[in-house]
């Protein structure tokens, strides 16, 4: 039998990207293990701990806010045809095409001192760039729920809200949760907009930059490693939980 060389070729080409993504991760971890003293020192730095906490809290708050507003929006986009729907859909996707420094400038121009250098500002910047993930995931999740299920629920006596909460929402949940995780991940990795809107209170991703600028590569590496480790662990754990919920 002839071997399927096309697939081998494609796999070889595709591996380039996988290696390209995995290699820097691997290298930074390896280099840091060779310099464990610096890592331990960093872990005892109160500034680092506080910034990590700030990052975690703001990203989590962002994910929750995006759920609160994004799930209803996703439902409307999935269920209702209306004039200007394509415009609404385009607005949802706008943050993806705007450079994040520009996002920061826009937010600052619009809300100025209300968000400048505050937790509100961090969350505002994060929400702007990461909410589309929740909205689109919720919309896709609801689109995958057969509308007739809700129709039947209603003829059985459920109000629209009840049909939503006991049928559409539970079925779309894995998709929505995936979206919220993406939002969280995108939020905790945001720098550009936060840099402009809220340099303080300091978040870990800003601190990495500051240490790099002030003390160089060696000083900024341990925080980077801790940040990546924390984000990846949470990201993978949450994805695993959602995957399990989907199969249950």
């Amino acid at each position: 039998m002839r071997r399927d060389y096309t697939l081998y070729l494609f796999a070889a080409l595709g591996s380039f990207l996988i290696i390209y993504i995995a290699l820097p991760l691997l290298i930074i971890f390896l280099k840091q293990t060779a310099d464990i003293g610096m890592l331990i020192k960093t872990l005892h730095d109160p500034l680092v701990i506080k910034s990590l906490r700030n990052s975690l809290l703001t990203a989590t708050a962002t994910a929750l806010i995006s759920l609160l507003f994004g799930v209803p929006l996703g439902y409307v986009l999935a269920r209702k045809e209306f004039h200007g729907k394509s415009i609404v859909q385009a607005v949802v996707d706008v943050p993806i095409v705007i450079p994040h420094s520009v996002v920061g400038i826009m937010l600052l121009v619009t809300f100025s001192s209300a968000i400048l250098d505050s937790y509100t500002g961090i969350i505002a910047a994060m929400l702007f760039v990461s909410a589309p993930f929740t909205i689109n995931a919720a919309r896709d999740g609801f689109l995958a729920v057969d509308e007739r299920l809700e129709h039947v629920a209603r003829t059985l006596g459920a109000s629209r809200l009840r049909a939503f909460s006991s049928i559409a929402l539970p079925i779309a949940f894995p998709s929505i949760a995936s979206g919220a995780i993406m939002t969280w991940a995108r939020a905790i990795s945001e720098v550009g907009a936060i840099l402009i809107v809220a340099y303080y209170p300091k978040t870990a991703q800003i601190l990495v930059m500051e240490y790099f600028n002030n003390y160089g590569l060696r000083a900024s590496r341990p925080i980077s490693v801790i940040l990546v480790l924390m984000s990846l662990t949470l990201f993978i754990a949450l994805r695993w939980l959602v995957g399990r919920a989907k199969n249950a």
Partner: protein, 344 residues
Amino acid sequence: MLEVRSLSKNWKEFSLRKISFDVRKGEYFIILGPSGAGKTLLLELIAGIYEPDEGRILMDGKDITGLPPERRGLAYIPQNYALFPNMRVFDNIAFGLKLRKLPKAEIEKKVKEIAEILDISHLLHRKPGTLSGGESQRVAIARALVIEPELLLLDEPFANLDVQTRGRLISEMKIWREDLGFTALHVTHSFEEAVSLGTRVGIMLDGRLVQIGGVREVFSRPASEAVAKFLGFENIIEGTASGRVLKANGLKIELPVEAEGRIRVGIRPEDIILSLNPVRTSARNVFRAEVEAVEELGPLVRVQLKSGGVELRAFITRSSMLEMGIRKGKELYVGFKASALHVF
């Protein structure tokens, strides 16, 4: 009970044109039509899922046209059953009862009762994704009936099932209806379902309800060419069966299977053989008949006959008509094989 008055609606490629009919209490009303006739849309309007462009829907004399689905007192079973995949069968059936805030013990009792009747007690702990088509349909029917709706709306309930399951469900449906005494509005494209289950039938073609009447009446006297063409299956004989013999208006017809009680049988016009002399073979039902009317349809001729009190229609070719000298008033013999009969 249900009155539909002059209902019209344009929606996507479907349109309903001035649909009017009524469903009486205890009745099993069938709307029969080819796919694309707008049957599902009609059910969705009655269920309150969409609003009509024009017309009214009344339930027990009360106008429900503007009411949301949850306040109409009816249950709807769409074609794909629409079982809630996130709930076990038990919770699917209990859904409507929970919304009515019944005590837990009573919910449990009612679900178990209906599951018993529909023979799905063993499925209660399963998730819908693991059920076969026939099982899913039973669960869907149970979920609808358990809330004791005034009217049950069924959209092609047996269309996606294999022939055997379908036949069994149809005959069981008759029993459930006797046991539970519900009123149903059932849309289908299947003549078998219409003839087996229907008290009355409405024929729907191109968004219009073109004929309404008793099942036998509609099948034996199509109001228009279009209805006749759609029905095709034009001879429906009603009578009392005992074993393999059906007594119908003075005829004793041999059946292909054993049956008891009032039944209907159908035979296609092209399966009826006309002859000038009786041909006696064991396989054939042969009766004297008189020609009542002759209708030429191009190369084919439709002959309307009366044998005893039974009206029959047969197709013959134009040349055999001339050869046998068939005309109004002519006496001849009709014959058909028992196996050509369809017992509903």
